[in-house]
Amino acid sequence: MFIFELLVQGLIQGGIYALIAIGLTLVYGLLRILHVAHAGLYALGGYCAILITNASGSFGLALTCSMIIVGIIGMVVYRIFYQPLLDKAPFVALIASIGLFIAMEEIFRIIFGAYGLTFSAPPLQDTVVFLGIYLRQCEIASIVLAIGLIAGLSLFTKYSRIGIAWRATVTDPEMAESFGVDVIKVRYLNFFIGSMMAAAAGSMVALLNNLVEPTMGSVPSYKALAIIVLGGLGNVRGTLIASLAIGIAEAVGTIYLGNILDRDSIAFAFLIVVLMLKPQGLFSKG
């Protein structure tokens, strides 16, 4: 019973990781950039959600707006910071991204204050007892949202024209271009969708914790990198599985490994072991 409860908690956390990591792995798959500042967009999503909810009273509206706003900002980030660096050595973009992330955290602090923001009346906080497990509505909502968005994404890439073009570009950019795919458009779309999902994760975490802080992105930023490597860089399905696995491993590890290893190191311990055994990640293509 208790293990089942841990499992559910792990899935909630894993769902959040998945929303963040999928955006990251999409960016990597397309552009070979380790987009650390993605976590800054995640935090921005949290800020938007709280500010808009407090102003309008509707979390649904806030979630939608936050996803759209952050999606657009994601495209701007691509245009300003990554497009000029595409032909440079990979760590150039990585360091620019780290710089951008540090700057974003500071901008949040300067604009929104060092103490962080909270909902004036946090919605979805009632407890539901389900099979002896206590869950808050917001925890259920975050699982549902994660499943919905990820399912939506996979349908989109399978059946819509632009989705197919996108998949083609990820697999082989030159070939796709020669078949008339607008690669530039695909890149913008990529950043829009990835950032949108990060914003969704940020909004849900804001709700779960009833708190967004300037440094909110600092944990998922690097952990998500570990997750996408575990999943085989650029592999969406692998990333999803790795996210859930890390979520569960952390939930279990908090209880049983608490005295040996920090929770935040679990993902990296996992990662190093896996990479030494399978240098291309758990779910590498081919």
Partner: protein, 289 residues
């Protein structure tokens, strides 16, 4: 004067840290996002040694040896994984280091280690010692860069597949780069510990790794002078920039971005660029004559 002395000491230690990473990243082209972990290994080793009565000077080789040993182990991972995978593996090393040290009561755990003994040379003496080591390391770096080993490192950094085709033993050169770089990182750590006299896991966290990395990259990977300049500027940055207090980290982050956007070769790239233009314009003048 004491303030300048303490600043120079810090600058010197940062330069040693940055030069040590430069050997791995700059010379051999192997990215490491976990360099602070090796600095940390050196700091912890030497602190424990001096606290148990070993003289400071003897603790330095100890720190370097242990750091180097762990560096070689991590170096083996660079044989397995490359590029972005290596970046994230070394990042993992950084997080794992703090994660493990935090939980070890022998290493002071979360409380860290305080009251690290003073080497007893006074502040000036310590600074002179540090600067001396900086000079030695800089000369060694310059020498290494121009030696046959440096050229082999270049070949590995450039394209390791080609290098191995022409008969370079890529694996052993990568390990040598890691061994050298992490040994000097251990030295930097030992010097840091005996300067600040207090260490805790957080002092060698991922942020520190990034700080060292940005020194190397802003200086221009591989350029010894560039790295020395960048390490000097960036290590005193937080102290000079007190007057913009609230915006300090913002400026720092933006600077990282801007340097990468406009001069991915770092300072050495800017200098080379200016030099090139100076020569060009001179030639232009001559042509006009």
């Amino acid at each position: 004067m004491e303030y300048e002395i303490s600043l120079l000491t810090i600058v010197g230690i940062s330069i040693i840290g940055a030069l040590s990473l430069n050997m791995i990243l700059g010379f051999c082209g192997q990215i490491s996002l976990g360099h602070a972990a090796f600095i940390g290994v050196g700091a912890y080793t030497s602190s424990i040694l001096t606290k148990s009565g070993v003289p400071f000077l003897l603790s330095l080789p100890g720190a370097m040896a242990l750091s180097c040993l762990i560096g070689i182990i991590v170096g083996f991972s660079s044989l397995r994984v490359r590029h972005d995978f290596l970046a994230i593996t070394t990042m993992g090393v950084s997080f794992l280091f703090t994660g493990v040290v935090r939980k070890q009561e022998v290493l002071g755990g979360e409380m860290g280690i305080a009251m690290i003994p003073d080497p007893g040379w006074g502040k000036l003496g310590y600074m002179v010692f540090v600067i001396l080591l900086v000079v030695i390391l800089a000369i060694f770096s310059l020498y290494l860069k121009r030696s046959w080993m440096g050229y082999t490192f270049d070949a590995v950094a450039e394209d390791e597949d080609t290098a191995s085709i022409v008969g370079v033993n890529v694996a052993s050169f990568k390990l040598i780069a890691f061994a050298l770089g992490t040994a000097f990182a251990g030295l930097a750590g030992a010097l840091y510990a005996h300067n600040v006299k207090f260490i805790d896991p957080e002092s060698f966290g991922f942020i520190e790794s990034i700080t060292v990395l940005s020194m190397v990259v802003i200086g221009g990977t591989g350029s010894v002078w560039g790295v020395i300049t960048a390490a000097a500027v960036l290590s005193v940055f937080p102290l000079w920039f007190q007057f913009i207090d609230d915006y300090k980290l913002l400026v720092y982050g933006t600077l990282l971005c801007i340097v990468m956007l406009f001069s991915p070769q770092g300072l050495s790239g800017i200098v080379a660029d200016l030099k090139g233009r100076l020569v060009n314009s001179k030639e232009g003048l001559h042509a006009a004559d």
